[in-house]
Symmetry: C2
Subunit: 341 residues, 2 copies
DNA sequence: GGTAGCACTCCCCCGGCACGAGTGCCAATC
DNA sequence: GATTGGCACTCGTGCCGGGGGAGTGCTACC
């Protein structure tokens, strides 16, 4: 029994099942694919594939359906990411380049992915922690409030207000601003604490409170997990065709998607994958509500390996893996290019 | 035939249908409510109510179901908004007061409403147009970029970057900042254009480009419709119990909710209602996807009449109107109090 | 190893039927 | 005139049984 053909059979099953949503039987398989053997032979192969856990029958005397494991083998070995067509690429680039600011870029990207994949799209805001600081601004607001504005190289702007015990000294604020920018600009936020630690020494004890407060706020801001935001679009695609793809309604899926924590965990796990495109299939998401979904993401935001955040698409197990992977990767690349420019 | 009893019957039908999701018949009605008459009498009343369009039968030989018009009469005349209990109020206040900044307030509010109403919650960010300006800041970023930061009295912070044709003159920027704050602070954004118009005259022609650019950006920012953001939570509630409440899947509803434009239109229309709580039932939403939903909102953000934005809850036609109305109103009031404080 | 045939299983669809809930109408009653 | 009880009628729903079809596993054969 040829090992190669067995993999061909698995690929054919995945492709047919994705296309038709129907369990696929041996006869249909030989009819639709040039396998060169008879249904009976295929049946033997299918029995072996089932034995190994790559496919399963919903019930006796039904066709076969890929399992999580089957999809995994499919994406790992049976498919090559097909590049997008030139017009598609051009459209993606043009659409994203029209964006005005970071919010707009993110918004366009998420809509674009939803549109391209016809699935739920996810875009993570550029992580503060992994961005480099471009500028720090201190803005007195009234006598006793100071607004701290951080601007990153990805265009993200964060601000915090500090309430002070004493009235502000404009001169000191000016000095602090200058110092901050010297020691901070161009650095990754993760390297900042070291640079900031010595800052306090440069000022007299009378200003210690101010310096401390500002430094504290800057560090706190970059450490704040909650500022890791994700944006969604296309949730309506989950309900397509009466939510046929989800046995137990789409409620749990929507719940999972609203839990930013869940998505952030997944995104950070997938960042470890070291692949241009990361895939989580069914159970691999490690989350109850996402058991019947697959999640495909790609990093963006830095030319070399380390990305500052991720974009992705979530759909039913029964999804177009090659298509989704290439769409997600394409958008991630354009994002990277735009944020760099 | 008593007109009063007929309204009682309508109320009973709405209440029963909301509670059971089953069309309600005459017998069930007399059993569950102390109407003091026989089923046959109720049948006559029901025939009259149907004649007037307040109720309808899904099919012959089924019970009655309220129509949009029936729900409308119910909320207008047959229900009084019951206040929330003291512990509930206390919990709401406590939860909202823990918030750190405006984003956090909005986030907490939207989750709170979703939780309280067990429906989709909507919170609109305080409108720029209707807020007052607290402070304008100009921040040079590099030699040729200027960051404009607007801070409103509701704590909202907006920023834009300007690219300039010539290098910046720090002194002029300083003067402009001072002037801007004098003429702008405390004003509603809608009154600003007038105040800004005369500003250009105070500077020499060499700085005209700069002044013009800054004024342009400020005006543009406040005019920008797209900056009217809304935040959602609880979309998973739509799918509760297999989306029984929505004949044609929840897809169209999700689509409508993702269209910020749709929600913003509705919110602004409802702001005209001059009621503490505004209600749109089914068709009244004027949107295809929301035909089978009702939308309840309340304004917040200003002690006297004019609110700066709205909060609301969207659920099936068959929803707990009194409960939702009181929850939405309560949250709106606490929001107002917190933003003022 | 591949193939053909065959018996078997099980889902799905359909028609028929009884049941129950609910109505509308009418005549009788207060 | 409003209310009521009775009654025939309608229609959706659940249940049952049977036919058709798709697909499988097994075995014997090339």
């Amino acid at each position: 029994m040829s090992e190669d053909r067995r993999l061909d059979v698995l690929r054919a099953i995945v492709e047919d099942y994705v296309a038709t949503r129907e369990p696929v039987g041996s006869r249909a398989l030989v009819e639709r694919h040039a396998l060169g053997v008879s249904p009976a032979t295929i049946r033997n192969d299918m029995a072996a594939l089932e034995e190994s856990g790559y496919i399963a029958q919903p019930h006796t005397s039904a066709g076969r359906v890929p399992t999580d494991k089957g999809y995994r083998l499919f994406v790992d070995r049976l498919t090559t990411v097909k590049p997008m067509s030139v017009p598609e690429r051009r459209a993606i680039g043009a659409f994203l380049e029209e964006a005005q600011d970071l919010d707009d870029v993110v918004d366009r990207a998420v809509r674009l992915i939803a549109q391209l994949t016809q699935q739920v799209a996810v875009v993570q805001y550029p992580s503060l922690r992994r961005s480099a600081l471009r500028h720090v601004e201190l803005v007195p607001v009234g006598a006793r409030h100071l607004l701290v504005v951080l601007i990153t190289d990805t265009g993200r702007v964060e601000q915090r207000t500090i309430e002070l015990g004493a009235d502000l000294d404009e001169v000191v604020v000016g000095q602090l601003r200058a110092r901050l920018n010297v020691s901070a600009a161009g650095r990754r936020l993760s390297e900042l604490p070291v640079a900031l630690a010595e800052l306090a020494d440069a000022f007299g004890p009378s200003d210690a409170a101010l310096v401390e407060a500002v430094v504290g706020v800057v560090e706190e801001t970059l450490a704040q997990e909650s500022e890791e935001r994700v944006v969604l679009a296309g949730t309506a695609y989950l309900a397509r065709g009466g939510a046929v793809d989800f046995a137990g309604s789409i409620g749990p899926v929507l719940e999972a998607l609203e839990e930013q924590v869940v998505l952030l965990r997944l995104l950070s796990e997938m960042a470890e994958d070291n692949a241009s495109v990361a895939v989580r299939i069914g159970r691999e998401t490690q989350h109850e509500g996402l058991l019947e979904t697959s999640f495909i993401t790609s990093g963006y935001g830095d030319e070399n390996g380390t990305s500052v955040a991720r974009v992705g698409s979530i759909g039913p197990l029964r999804m177009d893996y090659p298509g989704t992977m290439s769409a997600v990767r394409a958008v991630a690349r354009y994002l990277t290019r735009i944020l760099a420019g």
